[in-house]
Amino acid sequence: MRPKVRPGLAVGAILLLVGTTATAHRLDEYLQGTLISIEKNRLQVQITLTPGVAVFPFLLGDMDADADGVISETEQSAYASRVLRDLSLTMDGRPLTPQLISRQFPTIEEMKEGRGEIRIEFSAVLPSGGPSRKLIFENHHQSRIAAYQVNCLVPRDPNIRIVAQNRNYSQSLYQLEYSQADVDLGSPILAWWSSDRVSLGMVALLLLARLALLWRQRFRTVAELQ
């Protein structure tokens, strides 16, 4: 069994051990580059994870659970699932369920040297919505050592147009707004109740309820005074 060591305390020591040659390779960060491809009814995501030389010893225990020096198929699946669990995706406020498409793992030796890339691909079915859509993607995988990058590919579907991309400084939080021209909303009633209008309707209902409450209280007060 591997000893549990806190990465923050031990990275410095590892940096001294790996020597100067390691400056050619990623060291004390876990680079996680995400590319998102938006389609009409689904999205497809590719995450490329590159462990730095100094942090890999602390990640290895999560990948090679039985510590036999090989990341087996089962261990690869388990780690990919763990990465997916550390992600959060919502479309128009509704959570999405990522489905693993593929995973590729380099050898442990390649990762020890800082040149190994894990590649995970997944997709998610998108719920139907209105012509203006908002995707929120959050990555919390190994946040203490992560260097996140996230971008959207130019949509192949000409009906989809990216409107805005917003991120926090670390890129752990990414918000994508896009428009979709060929939305099939079914009946006119459903069309009216598209996602934006649902939100507006909810706000209007809450305001009405609040007004009713205030009016009732005022009515009571007047009645008591009389």
């Binding site: 940096l15 790996v18 020597g19 100067t20 040659t21 390691a22 400056t23 050619a24 390779h25 990623r26 060291l27 004390d28 960060e29 680079l31 580059g33 590319l35 490329t48 730095g52 100094a54 590729q104 380099p106 050898t107 030796e109 390649e110 020890k112 040297e113 040149r115 190994g116 890339e117 260097a147 996140y148 990058q149 971008n151 959207c152 590919l153 130019v154 990216i162 991309q165 991120r167 926090n168 400084y169 670390s170 890129q171």
Partner: protein, 368 residues
């Protein structure tokens, strides 16, 4: 239009065509001369099929001991063969392009002496070390096979390969690269395509024969000058509010087009657009002059649809490289400049990427 103008235009076009043909014929001649210096085994090592996708993608920013390249290295050649190989590379590049390549290679020689040259982490070849990433195996060497001595860095660890048959009419490719260098040059008749190409430098500033060398210095200086030429409102658009740690479309990301961000050149002044083109010319100008001129003309046509984005420090110490990532992206262009924060001074270790996602490896017929 006056007759003299027409004649001048016709003559100009004819001269350009003649120059392009001259460039291609010179490259083909240099390629055949190089091949004639090789023995049968070496020729087999250098030549690949034009459509060999594995060999096309067998390039990297990593040292060749980590990610093996196809072809044969300068180290494996006799002095005459090495001279013929470099003459071939030289024939495909501009003088400034060749100088940049030589400075990148010299930088690796400096690294060899400053960082040591054995396999990293004190060991020999790692047990079970496989081929290149993404499953590429084929005729790529196993890691740590650079002459069997575990050499990691040095100006002789650069590999040359030829995909297809050198021809003035039919397409073929010349690849030359190693640590921090990947030139993928497709020659298709008069056309010369340099994408995808990776340049990098470590150290990105060094002294050679008493002279300070910055292989990617102009890429840093010209971009900094452009940023400084923007007004406050333009800077707000150009400067991203998030950190970019590395290349987004580096090795292994062929053909991908990301949503552009930053400041669109249509919102720049004429002078600023000229400065942007000048930054771009540091990559387009690596290839020989006629191909570079055609490529820059194509990019100039797209310039209003080209974006400039910056992330990182907005000042630089005199004579040093920027510590900022920048990206230039147009309909047929992606350029990324990414300092590497790998435990040292990021300004001393830089990776850059130059792509045409619509025409990498010259895939688009009739493109420039």
């Amino acid at each position: 239009m006056r007759l003299t103008h027409r004649i001048a235009i016709v003559v100009s076009f004819s001269l350009s065509a003649a120059m392009a043909q001259t460039a291609t014929s010179q490259i083909v001649k240099a390629a055949n001369t190089f091949l004639s210096t090789l023995d049968q085994k070496q020729r087999h090592g250098v030549l690949f099929a034009f459509d060999d996708e594995q060999q096309r993608a067998r390039w990297s920013n990593f040292p060749t001991g980590f990610v093996p390249r196809g072809g044969i290295s300068l180290k494996e050649m006799t002095p005459a063969q090495r001279s013929a190989a470099m003459a071939l590379v030289s024939s495909a590049l501009s003088p400034r392009g060749l100088e940049k390549v030589q400075q990148i290679m010299e930088g690796d020689e400096v690294l060899k002496h400053t960082e040591g040259n054995g396999p990293p982490f004190g060991g020999g070849p790692p047990p079970g070390a496989g081929g290149p990433p993404n499953g590429g195996a084929g005729r790529g060497r196993p890691p740590f096979a650079n002459g069997g001595d575990g050499q990691m860095f040095g100006k002789d660890l650069y590999y040359i390969s030829i995909l297809g048959t050198p021809s003035e009419k039919n397409p073929w490719m010349l690849q030359f690269g190693g640590h921090h260098l990947a030139l993928n040059i497709t020659i298709d008749g008069e056309r010369g395509i340099l994408t995808p190409t990776l340049t990098g430098a470590q150290p990105a500033l060094y002294t050679l024969n008493g002279k300070t060398v910055r292989p990617l210095g102009p890429e840093s200086d010209k971009a900094m000058a452009l940023l400084n030429a923007l007004d406050e409102s333009q800077r707000k658009q150009a400067i991203l509010n998030y950190r970019v740690a590395d290349l987004v479309l580096g090795p292994g990301q062929d053909g991908k087009i990301i949503q552009p961000e930053g400041l669109k050149a249509s919102a720049m002044s004429d002078k600023q657009r000229v400065m942007l083109l000048d930054v771009i010319s540091e990559w387009t100008g690596i290839i020989h002059e006629s191909a570079a001129a055609a490529r820059l003309a194509e990019i100039k046509t797209d310039i209003d649809k080209t974006w400039f984005a910056w992330s990182g420090a907005t000042t630089v110490a005199p004579g040093k490289n920027i510590v900022a990532y920048y990206r230039i992206q147009g309909p047929h262009l992606v350029i990324e400049y990414a300092p590497q924060g790998l435990g040292g001074d990021p300004s001393m270790h830089v990776h850059t990427m130059y792509r045409d996602p619509t025409n990498d490896y010259g895939r688009k017929p009739g493109a420039k």
